[in-house]
Amino acid sequence: MADIATHDTGHAADHGHHSSTGLSNNKLAMWLFLGSECLLFGGLISTYMLYRGRVQNGPHPSQIYDIPFTSVSSFVLLMSSLTMVLAVSSAHRKDDSKTNLWLTITALLGATFVGGQVYEFTTFYREGLGFTTSLFGSSFYSLTGFHGVHVSVGVIMLLSLMGIIKKNKITGDKAEVVELIGLYWHFVDVVWIIIFTLVYLIPS
């Protein structure tokens, strides 16, 4: 939804209208959406925390988690937040080629993370942890899968954004659109830090 919202009132910033709060409609909407997303992940994380030790079939969390591997992919995702910041900063300086460069790198890092997750899921599946194997399996795949979908949607948004910038189709404030997608991207990263800590680092 996010990319839809960002373009809806693209004209707003163009004409320098004032809103009652001083925040643009788009940005306010994005913050509200992210606030709502907190509760979505809150529910999924709670479910996982409730069920992580409940293994009647298949492997136990400690038997399959590969902490070094996941640490590396977490690091990759965190670095993508840095490159996203650089993209937003370039967009504010109206430097299109730099913006494009940093957006590309951000998308690549995000895609690398998703690739790592696909690899991880495949490995876990081979080691006997299916989606239906145990409560742990169902809740692990649901939580991390939901997060992975969020990252993938983010990557798609970044790629679409680059296409739209290239074709000069943005009707509103270009830097703000980059910033909005940046907000979403950082949110997804922050959620991963919580998931990584609760799911992988704290032993069940």
Binding site: T9, H11, H15, N25, S36, L39, T132, L135, T171
Partner: protein, 667 residues
């Protein structure tokens, strides 16, 4: 609100609508923008908050009839012992769909109808912040509602109660696809509500007319704002619950599989963390409506405006901390029960504050007993009865006796029917002349009111007795053997309740007759029939496409009233200095030039259809899902590439001073 009304298109002022000519913009190089559409297309592709509000209302009213007929089936089945109208299975489907329909497909969208229509008008805006998202919300809601009800014809409806407790709603006990349709329908309707709530919050926070501070906003707008915050933070929780149940039912996940060690309380917690705020989502809009109606028809300002506002906000806030009072019988442990019991009782305080404020608003006022006022007073009385029985549920030991009996059914029908529905009907009578430019018949309105009051008390009043006698909810039959004696005779009160439900239905029928009669009546309503107080009345009825010819500048709470009346220095009484008509004429004379409104769009309805098809794919297989996803993808890109407002060059020539006025959605 039958489909007849859809033909009652607001007639725009010819001078201004001519200026709103829009020429086509192409998106994706494939589909031309549906500008200058007329007839049914005008409704299908509209992004106008007023048209969407009317469509919300019309569809919600149809679902009100559907849910009402389901209720009548239930009462027919229970009128006599050993009822034979419905089988046990059909009965389960009937009460599940009755509650689901009434809550998700009538009450919430009807509140959305009022919010959509009046919120921008009350804050002096020309539309909501995201007009296309607004259209998307409506079409998603419709798509969710159709999916929910399609289950009747595709193998049976959901049968687990509107709370759909898992594991009871798992594939073992609910083998038909009914629960799957229910899950998908609610997910889609939930997305609609989430988008709608974000949209309305941004609208209220960002798009108020100059001078309208938060504490000068009408109470209805305030209550809608509180409700949208409740929705933003509670909907994702039920989304999680629904997704888990969907994964379990459709993809074999184990979340509610007790043999795997699952916790049956997980669903209950997730559901009620959403479900309790939902209760306030239902009632607060009605509170908002009567907080407009009571002052208008008492000829007095609302007593204690800040108290009404902040008690509404605190009901919303505390409402997030009381969900486990729905689970007192589940064995939560004494500490949890005590905490939730106390919190629940605490909610009675702000609610009581509101009731006293309404009473004191009427106190000493010159009360005009119009139909709208009758319904508003009805709400105050009936909601108070329901509120008092609600406090008895807050007392956990008492609640464990009442759980799953008709006493609970009596309670929530008093607060929801006596409270919410009466508030909505009050709103119908109050705002009908604004929306359609015609007055609903007051005499029929009085019949409507009395039949509904008597019917509702006959239906739900006896349920207190039935419940305290121990008649359980959701039982498809009761038997003579379990009947009490004398005054407590179950047979008598069940029959009374069933008769009452039909009296209630006749009351609703009076409303429908009233609507048909009003639609055929050529007489136009006056501009300001009620001597009203808020901004939505400072424009034509029905309002023009752009709502206000000139964006009003606000100086007072109840701005419209203060433009009509000024205080006489000598006598300290209010004296009329202008009529509503004069004020509206003055606004028209000073109309803004070159008002740009957002153009109609194909994408919202197309996207909603795509989401609906995608959802059906969960039940009917991957190819359908892929097709739905492609439609979603296509329409998302079409949406993004389409400017929300048709290009400037498509418009009329700018005004002579070179300054082009934009509509409110643009900031």
């Amino acid at each position: 609100m039958s489909t007849n009304e859809l033909t009652l298109t607001p007639s725009e002022s010819p001078s201004l609508s001519n200026k709103l000519t829009i020429s086509p913009t192409q998106t994706l190089g494939a589909v031309r923008r549906p500008v200058n559409t007329t007839g049914w297309r005008e409704w299908l592709f509209t992004v106008d908050h007023k048209k969407l509000g009317i469509m919300y209302g019309a569809v919600a009213f149809v679902f009100f009839i559907v849910g009402g007929v389901e209720a009548l089936f239930i009462r027919l089945q229970l009128a006599l012992p050993d009822g034979r109208i419905l089988s046990a299975d059909k009965y389960n489907q009937m009460f599940t769909m009755h509650a689901t329909t009434m809550i998700f497909l009538f009450a919430m969208p009807m509140a959305a109808a009022f919010a959509n229509y009046f919120l921008p008008l009350q804050i002096g805006a020309r539309d909501v912040a995201f007009p296309r998202l607004n259209a998307l919300s409506f079409w998603l809601f419709l798509s969710g509602g159709l999916i929910l009800n399609a289950s009747w014809f595709l193998g049976g409806a959901a049968d687990g109660g509107w709370f759909m407790y898992a594991p009871n709603s798992g594939p073992v006990f609910s083998p038909s696809n009914g629960v799957d349709f229910w899950i998908l329908g609610l997910q889609i309707a939930g997305i609609a509500s989430l988008i709608g709530s974000i949209n309305l919050i941004v609208t209220v926070l960002n798009m108020r007319a100059p001078g309208m501070t938060l504490m000068k906003m009408p109470v209805f707008t305030w209550m809608i704002l509180v409700v949208q915050f409740l929705l933003v933070f509670s909907l994702p929780v039920i989304t999680v619950a629904l997704v888990l149940l969907m994964f379990q039912r459709s993809y074999g996940a184990t979340f509610f599989d007790v043999s795997q060690g699952a916790d049956p309380l997980l669903w209950q917690h997730l559901f009620w963390i959403f479900g309790h705020p939902e209760v306030y989502v239902l009632i607060l809009p009605a509170f908002g409506i009567i907080s407009e109606v009571l002052p208008t028809f008492s000829r007095k300002p609302l007593f204690g405006y800040p108290f009404v506002v902040f008690s509404g906000a605190s009901i919303g806030l505390v409402g997030f901390g009381v969900w486990a009072h729905h689970m007192f019988a589940s064995g939560l442990g004494p500490v949890s029960v005590a905490v939730f019991s106390m919190a629940t009782m605490a909610i009675a305080i702000p609610t009581g504050v509101k009731i006293f404020n309404w009473l004191l608003t009427m106190w000493g006022g010159k009360i005009w007993y119009s139909a709208a006022m009758k319904f508003a007073i009805g709400l105050v009385i009936l909601f108070t009865i329901g509120g008092l029985s609600g406090v008895t549920h807050a007392v956990a030991p008492s609640d464990t006796q009442q759980t799953d009996t008709y006493y609970i059914v009596a309670h929530f029908h008093y607060v929801l029917f006596g409270g919410m529905v009466f508030g909505l009907f009050s709103g119908f009578y109050y705002w009908w002349p604004k929306v359609f430019g015609k007055m609903l018949d007051e005499k029929l309105g009085t019949w409507n009111f009395w039949f509904m009051v008597i019917g509702m008390n006959l239906t739900f009043g006896p349920m207190h007795i039935l419940g305290l006698q121990g008649q359980p909810r959701r039982m498809y039959v009761w038997t003579e053997a379990r009947a009490g004696e004398g005054f407590f005779n179950l047979g008598m009160w069940n029959m009374v309740a069933s008769i009452g439900s039909f009296i209630l239905a006749v009351g609703v029928l009076f409303f429908i007759i009233n609507v048909i009669k009003t639609t055929r009546n050529p007489e136009r309503a006056p501009i300001d029939p009620w001597d009203a107080r808020t901004l939505e009345w400072i424009t034509a009825s029905p309002p023009k496409v752009h709502n206000f010819d000139r964006i009003p500048v606000v100086h007072h709470l109840d701005e419209f009233f203060h433009r009509k009346y000024e205080e006489d220095e000598a006598t300290h009484t209010m004296k009329q200095v202008a009529t509503g008509e004069e004020l509206v004429r003055a606004e028209e004379a000073a109309a803004d030039a070159d008002i740009h409104m957002p153009g109609p769009s194909y994408w919202p309805i197309l996207l909603a259809i795509g989401v609906g098809v995608l959802g059906m794919g969960v039940i009917y297989g991957t190819p359908i899902m892929v097709f739905g996803a492609l439609v979603v993808l296509f329409s998302s890109y079409g949406w993004v590439l389409e400017p929300s407002v048709p290009e400037s060059i498509d418009f009329d020539t700018p005004s002579t001073d070179g300054h082009t006025k934009e509509i409110a959605p643009l900031g």
